[in-house]
Each structure stands twice: as C-alpha cells, then as structure tokens.
C-alpha cells in the first residue's frame, strides 16, 4: 500500500483508504474526496510543502500530514 505522498506528479490514482481522524476524512468527503475517488496529482514536490490534487475540476491543497494518511492504488 502506498500513500498519496508516494505518487508522482501528473499521475491519477484511486483512493482506497483514509486513516486518521474523522475531521480530516469528513473535510475531504465534503470536497468529494473519499474511498473510490480518482484524483490527479498536480504537484508533489518532496520535502516542499503541500500537495496539490485535482478532483472533478477543482484544485485542492492537501498538507503532507494529511496526504500521508490517504492510501491509494494505481489505476
């Protein structure tokens, strides 16, 4: 299993699990991101700030701490 942090830029992945607090899970769900969602990584620079992901045409900044808890698989 890999997390969103391990995905390189411009790749799309499918979310298979989100661990951690329900606050983060719910905030993500409200933006339409949850298990089964396909998101595209627009920016992921190692050691350099948050990730930028795209979901249904909107961009969302996700802190590295949150991204580490989002488990994904390749599609």
């Amino acid at each position: 299993m890999k997390s969103l942090l391990d995905v390189s830029t411009q790749k799309s992945v499918k979310i298979v699990g989100i661990s951690g607090g329900k606050g983060a899970r719910r905030s993500l769900a409200q933006l339409g991101i949850g298990i089964g969602s396909v998101v595209k990584i627009k920016r992921n620079a190692p050691f350099a700030g948050p990730l930028l992901i795209e979901n249904h045409g909107s961009s969302i900044a996700v802190g590295r701490g949150v991204a580490a808890k989002i488990m994904v698989e390749d599609i």
Binding site: I18, G21, K22, G23, A24, R25, R26, S27, L28, A29, Q30, L31, G32, G34, I35, G36, S37, R43, A45, A48, G49, P50, L52, H56, G57, S58, S59, I60, A61, V62, G63, R64, G65, V66
Partner: protein
C-alpha cells in the same frame, strides 16, 4: 418573509446579496469570508423580504464551527425560502449541498451563478433538465455583471407565494441505502416526533453521519435507545459501501450529485486556460516565493509613495489653516481649544489616514478577490507547520492586515479549537490598517520606507515566535491543511470600487467621528489642564521608554482606535513637524509601542466572544508586556542601528 442565501464558498452568495441589498456584505475569493450573518430588509417587485446571507459552507455537517452554525441557524429560524447559489463551473461539487438542503423541507430555488465562467470552461448545462431532476426552479445568473438577478427574485416571489406546495420532494438515494435511512427516520418519527423540530429525514441522515451536534440534541431527550439502532444501521452502511461510517453518506451524496451532473452537463471544448499556466509559476516552489515577495514589496511601495505624496501636501495645508486660526481666535479661550481640536480631528482623517487607507484597501481587495490568498496559504504551509499551525491559518492572519476583527472571526474556518486559539492570538497582533497608518504616516514618512518595512518584518518574527511558544504550550498535532484553491478571477472594477467604499465608509462613519471626538476630549483635557494628570500617571512608562510625558494621553486613546494615537500625537505635541520635537529614535519607539500594545477595543470584544474572556485578558497582558519590552529595547539599542 425570510429568505436564506446559501451556497458553497466562492459561489457568489455575497455578490447576489449585495446586488439587491446594497453594499453590506464583504465578498472575497477565498473560503469562509462571510463569517457573520448579514441580514437586510429589501423591497423587491413590491414585496418586502428579510434577506440573510449565510457563510459559505460545503455541507450542513458540524465539521467546523462555521458550518455547524449554518445548520443551527437555518433550522432555528423560520425561513420561507432558500436560495441555493451554485457556481455553475463547479456544478458537480456543489450539488451535494443542494441535496442536503432539500431534506430540510423548505421551499427552494437554485441560482446557477457564474454561467460565464462555466461556458469558458466548456461546460454546457441543460437548465430545464436540472430543474426537473431537482424538482425546483433553476435560474441562471452572472451576479458579478448583475445578469439574471432580477429574474431570480421574480422567481423567488412566485415560489414563496405558492407556499408549502413548492417544497421540493426528497431525492431518494440508491435503494439499499435509502432503506436504511427510512428505517431510522421511522424510528425517529415514532419516538421523537413531537419533541424534535428538525425534519426527521435530515436528522436520520445526520445521525448516520455521526454528527456530534445532532447526536447531542437527541441525547438530551433520552436518545440512547436510538443510539443502538443508529450503530446497527451504520454498520450495515459500512458493509454495503466499504467506507467509514463518518463519510459514507457524504460520499453517497457526491455519487448522486455526479449522477445528476452526468445527466445535465455536456462538456465541450474549454478555452485555453492561461490560469493553469499562471499557477505553474505562482505556486512554484521557488518562483512562488519570489512572486510573493515581489507582490508584497510592490504593494508596500505603491501605498507608501501614493500616501506620502498626499500626506505631505495635505499636512502643509492644514498646518497653514491651524496658524490662521490663531489669528482669528484668542489662543487662551475655550473656543480656540475646541475649534482647534476639531480641525486636528478632521485634518488627521483627511491628511494622515485616508491617503494610506484608500490604496491599502484597494490593494487588499484585489489580492483577496483575485484568489491569491489561498495560494499564499499553499506556499506558507511548511512555514506555518514550523510554528505549529498549518497553511489554512494564514488566511485569518492575512485578513488581519485589513482589520483584526474579521480576522479573528475568520479563525472559525479552522476545525481544531487549539489551532483557532493560536491563530486568533496571532491575528490580533498583526498590524491592521489602522496600525499601518501609524507605521506609514509616522515611520515611513519621517524615517523612510525602509524602517517601516523593517517594522513589518520585525512584527512577523515576533508573531512567529509567539505562535511557536503557544504551540509548545499546547502540544497537539494540528490536523493539517485541506483547502480548496479557487480559480483566479479578475475582480471587476465595480466590485473593487464598492468593496473599498464599503470599508472606507466604515472608517468615515465609525472611526472618524471617534477621532474627532477624541481630539475634542484631548483639547478639553488640555484646556482644563487635566492632561497633565494623566501624563503624570503614565510618566513612569513614558520615562522608561524615553518619550516626552505629553504622549501619555495618546497611548490611552490609542486603545480605542489605533489611528487616534497618531493624530493625537500631533495634537499633543502641538505640531505636525514631528521631527522638531521628537528624535528619530523616539519616533521608532513610539511606533513599536503602538504596533504591539493592546489590541483596540473592537478586537478585544471579538476575542472574548470567539475565545473567551480569560484569553482576551491574556492577550492584553502579553501584548502590553511585549510592547514595553520591545520599545524599551529600541530605546536602548536604537541609536546603534539608526
């Protein structure tokens, strides 16, 4: 007749509200700027409505304080109509909120806003089909250009007149999930119907979502018999969908929304998007910071150049006026003191405050509306982590440069109480536009812009350290940033003009009278020689800081409005040629003190409302100690650097 305007952040609620209600609500291109409910009585097509502008919310769950408030307020008041405002270019993402609102059993109408942006993105929406699927009227609008807003309210009137008939029917979920919701709804109706004012279907869904607020309502009313039932049904849901109980229904709504989206939207060819390319530079991990610094520096210099030019001219003008005054009136009469202090108050507003305030507010409006602030949050996330917060907390902080009051309120967008406290304390220490006026009008004007910039930098260092200390005292892992980055929008000149005017009006109507009144009070204190008493009382402080005793009174008045300190300084010293009576070091010490000490009364009030009284008192104490410490430091070591 009460109408609620509800929509997700950046959907244009406030723009629609302002189009009909006159300029009362502040719109921005960043999440969570409408933190208070704006209510206005409007007369439209011969009928009178109470229009309430809600803060932007993604859902009616209690994920953070701002969202929880929306749900509570919406259900506690009797609304005759909900106008659900949707950003047409984000239709799929917006519909889940619509689906939640439908379950409230209130007549509804959809305003499909930002149609121009949708067509630019190549999104074509079949409006009639959407209206049929949602069982409610749908009106297309472009609120920023005032298109369709009139028709929206004509429609609204029809819907209200139809009354109960126009309540949209709930849209069922997929059969397996729907059965679970119905089962719980039935249970609620059986056991709680008379006691609970909330619509039972809505309540059932919220309970299944594990929503703390709605759970707490029922537990007051002996609801534990229900909680077992909820748990059993939740487990069923989790098994059916394989997703955690807290987000399974939220995601179910999203799936339904995407289903509707698929039925009504045709995606054509988007026009080439320069904005995507812009983000490659603006949010670049090196270039982004370069642009951030360039923007801030040019922002700073434009305000300074413009303001200093005007301040120079205007001050000389008022100086001459003051002198001619002494030729007309007897210098020792009470009338002389009265008229002179009124002139001080008026001239202070025109010559010192407005030249800096106007360009400052225009610049801030453009930065806010263009959508730059969420990008700043993106860039600053790593830095904010160092001081124990995350990127989202930068938004209240940046708003603080305009005014600390909305900044402290904007901390509601942070889900964690601990983050909220730290962000609120930090925001109240940011030099707001009033303090900036002091920094610009005094330090930049007399000592040069470099020193003013140094004060801002020094302030940032102090704030970061404060944040660091607070997060060290309250160790808790911050949940991390989840923030939507809205598309860039070129703010229309109409919106910039009206928004700036709205904020300047606040200065003219509220702050300026206080300034004039303050000047008069000081004039009278001087006439009856009472100022000497105050100055004497404060002499230990002024002596410690190496300032002349006469500035004592200005420090007291500065608590009311920070600009007051500057205007009264010229009055107390009896001249606008500050450098003839104060050394450059004293100017610096005075400004440092004003910048850091006690937030103004309005900020104190909002701090004790948003946090609590003890936090407010703590902030007052901390800032006072810091102010004395730093200004003393500059007094002793200032001559080394000046």
């Amino acid at each position: 007749m009460k109408i609620a305007l509800i929509g997700q952040p950046n959907s244009g609620k406030s723009t629609i509200f302002n189009a009909v209600a006159g300029y009362k609500s502040v719109t921005s291109n960043l999440p969570g700027t409408t933190v208070e409910y704006m209510e206005s009585r409007v007369r439209l097509n011969g009928a009178v409505y109470d229009l309430v502008d809600f803060p932007g919310t993604y859902s009616l769950s209690s994920t953070n304080e701002a969202e929880a408030e929306v749900g509570k307020y919406l259900l506690s008041q009797k609304f005759d109509l909900i106008i659900n405002i949707i950003d047409a270019s984000q239709l799929g993402r917006s519909l889940p909120l619509t689906l939640e609102l439908i379950d409230l059993g209130i007549p509804m109408i959809v305003a499909l806003n930002m149609m121009d942006e949708a067509s630019r993105k190549g999104i074509e929406i079949e409006v009639d089909a959407l209206s049929e699927l949602l069982n409610m009227p749908v009106q297309t609008t472009v609120a920023s250009k005032n298109l369709g807003v009139r028709d929206l309210f004509v429609n609204a009137k029809h819907v209200i007149e139809e009354g109960k008939k126009s309540i949209p029917g709930s849209i069922p979920c997929q059969k397996d999930v729907e059965e679970i919701i119905c089962e719980l709804e039935y249970e609620i109706k059986q056991n709680f119907a008379p006691k609970v004012v909330y619509p039972s279907r809505f309540l059932a869904i919220k309970l299944l979502e594990d929503d703390e607020y709605y759970q707490s309502i029922l537990s007051h009313q002996n609801g534990h018999m229900l909680s077992d039932k909820v748990r059993v049904l939740q487990n069923k849901l989790v098994q059916l969908r394989g997703k955690p109980q807290d987000s399974v229904l939220v995601l179910e709504r999203h799936a339904m929304a995407m289903d509707i989206y698929g039925k009504v939207v045709k995606i054509g060819h988007p026009h080439s998007d320069w904005r995507e390319k812009l983000d490659h530079i603006v949010m670049h991990r090196m270039g982004g910071y370069f642009i951030l610094i360039t923007i801030l520096l040019s922002f700073f210099y434009i305000i300074f150049e413009f303001g200093a030019l005007l301040e120079g001219y205007l001050l000389t003008g008022f100086e001459n006026l003051q002198q001619s005054l002494s030729g007309v009136l007897d210098q020792n009469s009470i009338w002389f003191y009265l008229v002179q202090s009124i002139v001080w108050g008026i001239s202070g507003g025109i010559a010192i405050v407005l030249p800096y305030l106007v360009p400052f507010l225009i610049g801030l409006t453009i930065l806010e509306d263009a959508g730059y602030l969420p990008r700043v949050a993106f860039l600053m996330d790593s830095f904010m982590h160092r001081i124990g917060l995350h990127g989202t907390s930068i938004i209240p902080a940046v708003l603080g440069y305009g005014c600390n009051v909305p900044a402290v309120m904007a901390t509601r967008i942070l889900p964690s109480r601990r983050d909220k406290i730290i962000a609120a304390v930090i925001s109240s220490m940011i030099p707001c536009s009033a303090r900036s006026v002091v920094i610009f009008g005094l330090v930049a004007f007399y000592l040069g812009p470099f020193w003013a910039f140094a004060i801002y930098l020094f302030n940032i260092v102090v704030i970061s350290l404060t944040g660091k200390v607070l997060s060290w005292l309250m160790p808790e892992v911050s949940p991390g940033m989840i923030l939507e980055i809205p598309p860039y929008r070129w703010p229309s000149s109409r919106v910039i003009f009206r928004k700036t005017w709205f904020r300047i009006k606040e200065f003219i109507m509220v702050a300026w009278p206080i300034l004039i009144l303050g000047s008069v009070v000081l004039g009278m204190l001087e006439y009856f020689q009472l100022d000497k008493l105050i100055n004497q009382g404060l002499s230990p402080l002024t002596a410690l800081l190496g300032l002349p005793a006469v500035v004592g009174t200005t420090l007291i008045f500065g608590v009311l409005r920070k600009e007051l300190a500057l205007i009264m300084l010229t009055q107390a010293l009896g001249t606008t040629q500050i450098l003839t009576v104060l050394s450059t070091n004293q100017v610096l010490v005075f400004t440092i003190f004003i910048t850091f000490y006690i937030p103004c009364v309005a900020t104190m009030a909002v701090l004790s409302r948003e946090l609590n009284r003890s936090w407010m008192i703590l902030v007052v104490m901390i800032t006072l100690i810091l102010a004395i410490l730093f200004s003393f430091m500059f007094r002793v070591f200032g001559h080394l650097i000046l």
